[in-house]
Point group: C2
Chain length 362, copies 2
């Protein structure tokens, strides 16, 4: 292992003290232009790279940002991580990405891990922002942080995400407006994440506002979607009228639902409509495209970095921001094909603004 070149080597090579070299590197204080050049040349020549370890030790800043996401393989968080990494790189920061696997204990241990690395700040998506030991720990440690995707009701240091409640409510009225009266929802990780909860609550509220009842609620394991196949085939094997539309709390679930329905001989969207949530690439790579609430995942990542930076440097009071989502048209959401139930008939109302979202906490 070739000995790494240190600041001392540079100092020696230039006939300067390490202090001066350090000042040049961080361009702090007043240095002669010629000295700067000399040092920079030496840095180039010897291939010097400051040791992050030593930097962190002096507890100034090691230009490292901790990141905790629930899953590396879920495209939503992968995209968020990509956006964040890009922005961090632009600003000269390195992200240290950890996955919590949707597990509270791992979430907490990830925070401890990041604390041990003395990161300058943390970007994270927690399972449930209303009751997160990880978040409390960060508050306690006084480390700046910014939540991604979580949009908590209580006050937090910072957050960037979309209004899941409102978006889900909008989906509900949109579905109803197309004549559907028997509507189901497929939700994953229901008790585990605040997003799923908000989406469920929003969807219910939207349906209620539109005067429709939720016909079915299918809950499945978020990771491997166990139980989906069974639940769906049970529902569709029963007599009577089946749901003509399903809202799925995320796109992965929506794609699994479509695959299952098609395997059961139902055509999407001719027989049954599907709406997802997230707008992942895999949804766009099919024909017809998966109708979905498209969330700006890359931007959630990069905006979170910006907000965190503001916190770190300006100690700004800006506490968070809701980003716009986009409910796409067409795709796997179509007008109902069967005759609607006789008792339906109220006109959809677009005034979603009147919806109250501050109640439905489970």
């Amino acid at each position: 292992m070739a000995k790494a070149v240190t600041i001392k080597d540079i100092a020696q090579h230039c006939g300067l003290s390490v202090a001066t070299v350090s000042r040049v590197i961080n361009n702090k204080g007043a240095i002669r232009a010629e000295t700067v050049e000399r040092v920079e040349a030496a840095v180039q020549a010897l291939g010097y790279r400051p040791s992050m370890a030593a930097r962190a030790l002096k507890s100034a800043s090691n230009r490292t940002l901790g990141v905790i996401i629930p899953s590396l393989t879920n495209p939503v968080f992968a995209e968020t991580a990509a956006g964040l990494q890009q922005q961090a790189r632009l600003l000269g920061y390195t992200p240290l990405i950890l996955s919590s696997d949707y597990d509270d204990a791992l979430e907490s241990s990830a925070v401890e891990n990041l604390l041990a690395y003395q990161v300058d700040g943390v970007l994270l998506t927690v399972n449930d922002a209303t009751s997160s030991a990880a978040l409390e720990r960060l508050d306690e440690a006084g480390v700046p942080y910014c939540l991604m995707h979580n949009v908590p009701r209580q006050r937090v240091a910072g957050f960037i995400g979309v209004d899941n409640f409102r978006a889900a409510a909008e989906v509900a009225t949109r579905i109803q407006a197309l004549g559907h009266t028997r509507i189901g929802m497929v939700s994953g990780d229901f008790m585990r994440t605040d997003r799923a909860r908000d989406r469920y609550a929003g969807f219910l509220a939207g349906l209620k506002y539109a005067g429709v009842e939720l016909a079915h609620l299918v809950q499945v394991d978020p990771v491997n979607a166990t139980g989906l196949q069974e639940s769906l085939s049970r529902i569709y094997s029963q007599e009577g009228s089946h749901p003509t539309a399903w809202f799925c709390s995320n796109d992965l679930l929506a794609l699994a639902t479509i695959a299952q329905l098609e395997a059961m001989g139902r055509s999407v969207p001719d027989d049954v409509s599907i709406v997802g949530f997230d707008g992942i690439q895999a949804g766009a790579l099919r024909q017809p495209m998966l109708t979905s609430v498209r969330t700006p995942n890359l931007e959630i990542g990069s905006a979170s970095v910006d907000l965190l930076m503001a916190q770190i440097h300006d100690t700004s009071s800006n506490t968070g921001r809701k980003l716009d989502y986009h409910l796409m048209e067409g795709g796997t959401l179509a007008a109902v094909s069967e005759m609607p139930d006789p008792d339906s008939g109220n006109t959809p109302d677009p005034h979603l603004q009147s919806l109250d979202e501050s109640k439905d906490d489970a």
Copy 2:
């Protein structure tokens, strides 16, 4: 920012020297059982976490593994990263994951970055293992590393991956065996990654062995697949017989190709067969499933960690390993529906072993 508790605090709290505490924590040397208990209790009580920075500085080991992957959002690498992180966690290591965005310069700078962090070793997928500045730098620095997905011809410290050449060749004979005679290939990042090159070379070799010629080669940008739509519509708008099967060098490309073909009114696999490469989840979440060469991505990650550990500790001579892939049956690969060209008729031969793969380097 609450002052972090250090090893000194523990020492003071226990009436011991820092040396003893350090020894307890790393359980090195001989310590009285009662002392161990006392220290561990204090660690628990005060919530002590050793500073990674200080550890790294003493240049022992900071139990950190550097990771470089071409993309966070490509499911293949996301899965690999997930597998690797899981295994690393098991062994008490923390992965520091960086994305190179398929860019050689970023690849190199990522290596420099990891070197600055004094990681114990590096796990990485490079664009092209035969000419990688990043790899040379690692060799020069003497840092243990293990390639993931790259299966280089020259000697390297370590690698874990599948035999892309052989797998692609197998795909070729499989397609031909189903009666296809007009076969195309869609390849991304062709000049950029050794995987795409090996798959192309293997496919060509396989076709040649089966006595078929490649009818079309469509090359597209790996990231956004620009040019795919244009190329395909040009090919299918021409007079004459069109390809009845396409091999795509990865699943993302395969899904995009299917979407495009279906948008052009072709049915998959009734009119045209598609075979991908990687076996990503999105391919399995459609009906019919995307036929693909399934690579053990999670295992590539975890096996790489194991191999790297062997390198770090045992200075083992084990230099690399090829993992099994699996070419799935059915799905989007079906027997040809049109009449095959009159001049075809040779029987496929399963003796792929005779294929020589040591020639086709671009």
